[in-house]
Amino acid sequence: MTGPRAGAGAPAAGPRTLFAKVWDAHVVAQEPDAPALLYVDLHLVHEVTSPQAFAGLRARGLRVRRPERTVATVDHSVPTLPAAEATPDALAAAQIARMGENARREGIRFYGTESPSRGIVHVIGPELGLTQPGMTVVCGDSHTSTHGAFGALAFGIGTSEVEHVLATQCLLQRRPGVFEVRLTGRRPEGVTAKDIVLALLARIGIGGGTAHVFEYTGDGVRALGMEERMTICNMSIEGGARAGMMAPDDTTIQYVAGKEFAPKGKAWEEALARWRALPGDDGAAFDRSVTIDLSALTPMITFGTNPGMGVPIADPVPSPDDVADATQASALRKALAYMALEPGRPLLGQRVDVVFIGSCTNGRISDLRQAASVLRGRTVAPSVRLLVVPGSLAVRRQAEAEGLDRVFLSAGAEWRGAGCSMCIAMNGDQLSPGQYAVSTSNRNFEGRQGKGGRTFLASPLTAAASAVTGRITDARRLAAEGVRA
C-alpha cells in the first residue's frame, strides 16, 4: 500500500498546513456546491459498525472496490478471557462470525479471533505498518483519529460511509477548519501524554474542536514518542475534532521502518521523500490556535461525565456554585450527582473499586511498562479489581517477553487477552452499578464502562498507583513512599 502522489484537487497557493497537503492530494473530484470526493488509502473495518454496510453493498449488487486497501479485525465484542472462562454471548458471537464471512466473501485481509496479529484496530494498524504518513485512513470508529500521529488524515465514519468506502474507496467530505494545538515547553517528570490531552480537553471543552482537525505543532510534539503521539491524537475526537495530526519526523520514520506492511527497498526511499515534504510550511495559516505549556502541567484526572471535565489530580471536585454560566452549572450538578461526588472534596483519596489499564488510548507496550513500573514489588489493594488488557496480541507477547505479565499477576491483577474490553463494555468486561473505576480509556460518559458505572479517566501511572492504594493516588507520591510489601 502506498500513499498518494498527486490528486485532482487544486492545491492552494502559498504555505500549506500538514492537513492541507494531505487533503489536497486526495481530492478525486470537487463539484460546485458539493462536498469534495476524497480518496481513502486505508479502510479499517471491525465487527460492530460494518455488518449493515456489507448488507447494503450486497443489496445493491456491489462488491468491495479495493479489497487490498481494506483490513478487518474483531475487537469491540471479543472476550478477553480464554473461551472456557468467557460468558457465552450469542449476539456478539454472531457479529464476530459475520465479520469473518464478509471479509472472506470480499477477499479482505482479516485478523480474526485465531490470528496472532489480532488486536484493537487502532493498535494493530500502526503495529503492522498499515498506517503510514500522508495517508487518508478511515474506520467506522471515532478513535480512528489515533492514526493521525503518523501525519495521516484519519477520522471516524458512520456505517453508511463505511458502505460508501467499500463500494467506491471514496467519501464525500466538506473541508474542515484547521485548529493548531501548539505544545511548548518540557513536561515535568510523571506527566504523561494522557495528562497532556486531558489538559487540552479541560481547556477547550468537548465541543471545542467541532468542525475542525487538530494539527499539533511545537517542540512539545517532537519530544514525544510514537505511542505517546497516538494517545494524544486518539483523544482529539473527545475535543470534537474528527482528526488530530502530527507531522512525521525521524521518530515516525524509525517507528514505521521494517514494519510488515511498510514500503521496502526503492519504494521505501520514495516514500521517505514524500513523507519529508509533509510537515506544514512555515507561515501556513490556521483557523484557530491554542498553546499548551507542558512545563506547567501536572497529572490530570476527570471527575465528571465527559472527557472535558478534568482537573489536576490534587485539585478538589469543582463546585457548581463557582460556575457563572447557569447551563454549565446545571451540567456540572448533573455530572456530580451521577458520580456521587461532593463539590469541594479532594479527588485524591476517593475510593476506587476497579482499575482498567488498556484501550486504544493507553493499551500499548509503553503504557504497560509505565503501569508495571508502579506495580513492581507492590500489590493491588484487596478491595480493588485490576484488569490489564493489552491492546493487541503482539503487545501481549511483548509484555510477556519483558516479564510484565508476572509483575501484573504477582501484584494481583487480571492479565487478559487483547481487545477493547472495559473501555466500551461490550464483551462482558464491565463495571457494576455504582462502582468507581480509574480507567486509562477515553470516555467517562454515563454507563460507558457498564450501566451505572462511574469512571475517572487518567494515565496508566495514576491508574496503577490507584490500584495499589484503592484510592485515587498521584503516582509521584506513591513513588516517594517507596516499595510497599
Binding site: 458539493a34 449476539l91 456478539a92 458512520g158 460508501h164 467541532t210 468542525a211 448533573k334 460518559f445 454515563e446
Partner: protein, 197 residues
C-alpha cells in the same frame, strides 16, 4: 432514503448539553447485524429502570409526546462515538429532526444519511424555541427544509443553516452512494495517476 420536505410536530424537550451517543444508544445494544428494534433502546439508560420498566419522569415515556417527530436537545448533541446506531435509533423512534445549538460532526453526517435533520439554531432563536416549549409544551412547529426555516406558532420563522448538497439529498430522498458512483471513471483515473497502486 425517505424524502424530507416539511414536518409539523410538537417538540420533545430533552434540554441537556453534550448528549453523547452512549446515552442515545448504549453500546450493549450495538451487537446487532441489522437495524431492527433500535428505537426500543433509544436513551435506554435514561428511559428504563433497573428492572426494565419505563421511568415515568423521563420525557420519552410521557404519553403526550407519542408520535412527536422533533427532539429539542441541548448543545453539542451526538458527541462521542461514530455509531450510526444513534440516528438509526432516533429515526426508528419516529424523530425526523433534532434541534440544538450545535452537533458533533460525525453525528450530523450520519443523521443526514438517514433522513434525520440536525437543525442548528443561533442562540437567540434557540432560547425562544426553548421558552415556547416550556410555555406551551403541546405547541406545534413546522420545519420547511427547502426554505431552511423553523416556523413557530404566530408565524415567527427561524432560519437554520443547511449544507446545500445535504439539503438537496434530504429533500429529494437522494442517497449519497448513488452520487459517488457517478464518479467511477474519475476514481479509476485517480487510482492510475502518478504511480498509484
Amino acid at each position: 432514503m425517505r424524502e424530507f420536505v416539511r414536518c409539523t410536530s410538537r417538540m420533545v424537550p430533552l434540554l441537556v448539553d453534550n448528549i453523547d451517543t452512549d446515552q442515545i444508544i448504549p453500546a450493549r445494544f450495538l451487537k446487532v447485524t441489522d437495524k431492527l428494534g433500535l428505537g426500543d433502546n433509544l436513551f435506554a439508560d435514561w428511559r428504563y429502570g433497573p428492572d426494565g420498566t419505563p421511568k415515568g419522569e423521563f420525557i420519552l415515556n410521557d404519553p403526550a409526546v407519542r408520535g412527536s417527530e422533533i427532539l429539542l436537545a441541548g448543545d453539542n448533541f451526538g458527541c462521542g462515538s461514530s455509531r450510526e446506531h444513534a440516528p438509526w435509533a432516533l429515526a426508528a423512534f419516529g424523530f425526523r429532526a433534532v434541534i440544538s445549538t450545535s452537533f458533533a460532526d460525525i453525528f450530523a453526517n450520519n443523521a443526514l444519511k438517514n433522513g434525520l435533520l440536525p437543525l442548528k439554531l443561533g442562540p437567540e432563536d434557540y432560547r425562544s424555541v426553548v421558552a415556547l416549549a416550556r410555555r406551551d409544551p403541546g405547541a406545534a412547529v413546522t420545519i420547511d427544509v427547502p426554505a431552511q426555516t423553523l416556523e413557530l406558532p404566530g408565524g415567527r420563522r427561524c432560519a437554520f443553516p443547511l449544507d446545500s448538497f445535504a439539503g438537496t439529498c434530504l429533500v429529494g430522498g437522494v442517497d449519497e452512494l448513488g452520487y459517488i458512483l457517478k464518479f467511477t471513471d474519475a476514481i479509476a483515473r485517480y487510482e492510475q495517476g502518478a504511480g498509484r497502486g
